[in-house]
Subunit: 580 residues, 2 copies
């Protein structure tokens, strides 16, 4: 490609609404152009990146035996009503009506449509396993779209759906996809981590997120540097402390803590570590009858160490706490006779169920609220001052330094951007939509499903969050808009520069390298600034002066300075620096 | 590709709602699957065809210097309000609201968005010419979607938009596109015709449709077998007859024609050729004031030969008839004192403007209504019986046998399916949206535009309408889902068959041929029926019997019978039969 025949449009300033570096750089480098909130034009330079991402994904999906099809962007509501998602999903599902007033959705994913296809097409066990995928435009009507392509409303996703005869075959299909994802992310040339994720009601460990590591990532991901353990924060297990419960030493004491309603404030006032305090979280669960009316409410007290955060996913897995909600102030007053900030498990007005975090269950001499405004109780001990808890469970987010659940070392935490997800679905959709196949005995069985997504348009944004400097983007070779840029300096003044540039350009093209020749005639400063902003990884500069000595200059986008290379060697040099 | 790793799903019966052969065959061959009215899943076999169409279009668009980008499917209404299309377009424009109640459209085309991009990005004459294109999902909420992909609601279109500094540069860009389209349609391997189309208010001849010739086509297209003249029916000019007006012979006579209100009935009753009759069409034009109130109405009488059809596009170009409507029964009664069916230009109650078709203006001794129910007048002659018409114009559709406008022979008419359109837009959108660039003198000038569409998903349907037989589709090589199918008979029973099939499959792949090996183990009859329905152009059958003599069978989809070819020669034979 010659730059004069392409479209390059860079900006000095980032748009005012750009909060993250990828949004800023993608806009400044002319990769995207905002059309509306969360809606972007993919400009020529950006589209090249997206097409490279798509090509890698497509190749590896095909290699893994998945078959590509395309499902419509605009989908009839009927199928979404069959699974109940038309009603259940929030306003992020863009619901529309056609000229006849019929309901449609703009697809955010395609479980319903693919299950509809499968129930018509996959009739026999002989047709299984089958995996269908599409690379298609999706829409999610985010309340507050932001961060450019990171959280847009219209985006492109690769979504794949596997169909199998039984759970063990489905799990094998899942593993094939998980392997394909590793190959895909390896090929992107990004630092990433596959982390175990929560699989909700389905159970098992068959849910993994693919997280591109970046300090600016929205997700906290947990890993063990000493092993291959990795999970997202929702999923990562906090083991019970190694030792037995500590021994009670202190006496139970009511202590004035005026105005100190947080554990941190109390610990500071009392001059003790925050880890000796226990916070009280009050939840409630409602039992309803068939008419949906609440017939019984159970209130729960959860106890966590003051320096720990509650993990809602884990809490919802405690037997009885499925579907919990936070208690109302009325319910709190009814059970504690006190406002939040000074609550504790001793001296309750009305009984409730107490669940202690594993950590809290083994603490001795701890501090909690006294159920009286401006007072806390110190020296609290299980058994002596209050009964053992009704239940002990992992209720909290892990923190750095926690023991790894695989026993191999200590957990570390880093930030990531989720760009892929593999998920074992079981029969959730096939049962709702009656998607069955006939087994060897001619008996209908529900199809076992998995679903597998990659955020095609999010990936470039994540790549930039991970790979940039103050001058701009630094693309990995595999997804760079161009792999090499040839920059002739003074092409219009020097026939030698022009001839060398065009000859190198032709040679690189012939060698199958995705090269752009910058024949725009820009001054060197502006030209280099453009390509550093755009982030093309390999640059060859051709100038009259070096050329007199038979030399040109090579500089990788990460190199601090250019290297002189003989004209005769430059093609080999460039290829030598390219990623395999 | 091996069939066992792909997805093949054929049907014996076409769906009940399929009216045209392409819809029937695409469904039966498993290329598409209906999701809703006018909304289709592109199944794996169909998607391969679409991808090949896209690839050819993309290659030739790039070769012609156009630059690819992607504009969103969901577009904010604001831009559409700037050009007035948000209000002006009918319900085929799918208008939607997001969660905040803001208006959006699902794009049917992208003139507004590309003009918005251009007015921001194309600031200087130095950046021109520029041509941007996308291959993107479109939506048109057809009142009655039908004919499968031929008139779907959701479809894929390649739309390109050129930007130039002045009309002559824009026309050069137009010609570049028109040439690219010829290359594209040549490569598809279809019989097509580029026909001049009406360019509306813009004027000039810069609008051409690319029509795939098919007996089932919706459009009548006009061409001259003796020259390269071709136009669509709306555009094709009907020349004035060669000779002078005939001489009046008959006397003006009022003739009873009870109940005969059509020219055909009158001609039959009187035993004269239909071409001696003249039909009266009554139109009206309204003059409005600034408030949009009608302040004056002019009624017009158009006279056409009884065997000719009115061409509304041509009529609207007669000075004064822009924006015409058909007259009301009240207006007709006011001017003729008679109901339609017996109207004529003689003995009017109230004067009106008479426009004669070129043909009628030169007729003598013609027949028209007598402005009295159940009576016609014969022997009518201009000058003698009524004044010369107020205007003479080309008002009619051409018919086969008319003289070609280029004077090179006689016109013929055939049917076509419009799959492409190139159009010079001028400054319609750039003026409405204030899209200007700075010329050499630093003065803002409106961008001159052209737009260029290809119906990506319609093209396969048109190809099938043109290329099929009673057994199924017959794809041209370039857009076949697979170019070659290797059909081993009894692969499971014969190691020789299996080995030969796999070796030929590998050789074809290595030769860059898009081949599928049918390893499903179907019986020969079912296997051949599948591939004939799907329409793969080249088939190699490998059976134990022939193989004993070192032979396999080759059959092109259009061949009446198979040809025996030595195993050693089959690769060369297949390649020899493939389109270049």
């Amino acid at each position: 490609m010659k730059a004069s025949q392409f479209f390059i449009s860079t900006l000095k300033e980032a748009p005012a609404d750009a909060e993250v570096v990828s949004h800023k750089l993608m806009t400044r480098a002319g990769l995207i152009k905002k059309l509306g909130a969360g809606i972007y034009n993919y400009m020529p330079m950006g589209l090249r990146v997206i097409r490279k991402v798509e090509a890698i994904v497509r190749e590896e999906m095909n290699r893994a035996g998945a078959v590509e099809l395309t499902m419509p962007v605009v989908q009839p509501a009927e199928l979404w009503q069959e699974t109940g998602r038309f009603e259940k999903m929030g306003p992020e599902l863009l619901r529309i009506q056609d000229r006849h007033g019929r309901d449609f959705v703009v697809q955010p994913t395609s479980e319903e449509v693919i299950t509809d296809i499968a129930r018509q097409e996959l009739r026999s066990y002989k047709q299984l396993p089958k995996n269908f995928y599409q690379i298609q435009t999706k829409f999610r009507d985010e309340r507050r779209p932001r961060f450019g392509l990171m959280r847009g409303r219209e985006f492109t996703m690769k979504d794949a759906y596997s169909f199998d005869r039984d759970p063990s075959a489905a799990k094998a299909s899942y593993q094939v996809m998980a392997q394909a994802y590793r190959r895909i992310f390896d090929r992107f040339g990004l630092t990433y981590r596959a982390v175990a994720a929560d699989s909700g009601a389905i159970g098992g460990d068959l849910s993994e997120e693919f997280q591109v590591i970046a300090a600016t990532g929205e997700d906290a991901i947990v890993y063990c540097p000493q092993s291959d353990y990795a999970a997202n924060m929702e999923k990562a297990e906090a083991l019970a402390p190694a030792g037995p419960r500590g021994t009670a030493v202190q006496a139970l004491t009511k202590t004035a803590t005026p105005g100190k309603s947080t554990c941190a404030d109390v610990a500071e006032l009392l001059g003790v570590p925050l880890s000796t305090t226990v916070k009280s979280l009050v939840l409630a669960t409602d039992e309803t009858n068939e008419a949906g009316e609440i017939v019984k409410t159970q209130v729960w007290l959860l106890l966590l160490r003051g320096d720990h955060d509650m993990n809602e996913i884990k809490v919802a897995k405690v037997p009885g706490l499925e579907g919990f909600r936070f208690a109302t102030l009325g319910e709190i007053d009814e059970h504690f006779g006190c406002k939040p900030g000074y609550l504790g498990p001793i001296g309750l007005k009305k009984p409730l169920k107490i669940v202690a975090d594993r950590e809290v269950a083994l603490m001795a001499d701890w501090i909690c609220g006294a159920n009286e405004p401006d007072f806390h109780t110190t020296g609290v001990n299980w058994g002596r001052d209050l009964p053992e808890p009704d239940a002990v469970a992992d209720l909290r987010n892990v923190v750095a330094g926690d023991r790894s659940p695989d026993g191999q070392g200590e957990l570390a935490i880093e930030r990531g951007i989720e760009v892929g997800h593999v998920f074992y679905l079981g029969t959730k959709y096939s049962r709702a939509m009656n998607a069955t196949f006939l087994d060897e005995n001619g008996k209908p069985q529900p199809l076992e499903m998995g679903c597998y997504g990659i955020g095609i348009t999010r990936l470039p944004a994540a790549a930039i969050e991970q790979n940039h400097d103050e001058r701009g983007i630094i693309w990995p070779d595999a997804i760079a808009p161009f792999t090499v840029v040839v920059c002739p300096v003074g092409m219009d003044r020097s026939d030698a520069v022009k001839a060398t540039a065009e000859s190198l350009y032709t040679d690189l093209l012939a060698a199958g390298v995705d090269v752009i020749l910058d024949d725009r005639g820009e001054r060197p400063g502006a030209m280099f600034a453009d390509w550093e902003l755009i982030g093309v990884p390999h640059r060859v500069t051709i100038g009259d002066k070096s050329l007199k000595d038979g030399m040109v200059e090579y500089q990788h986008r990460r190199d601090a300075a250019a290297t002189k290379v003989a004209v005769a060697d430059i093609l080999a040099h460039v290829k030598g620096r390219m990623a395999v």
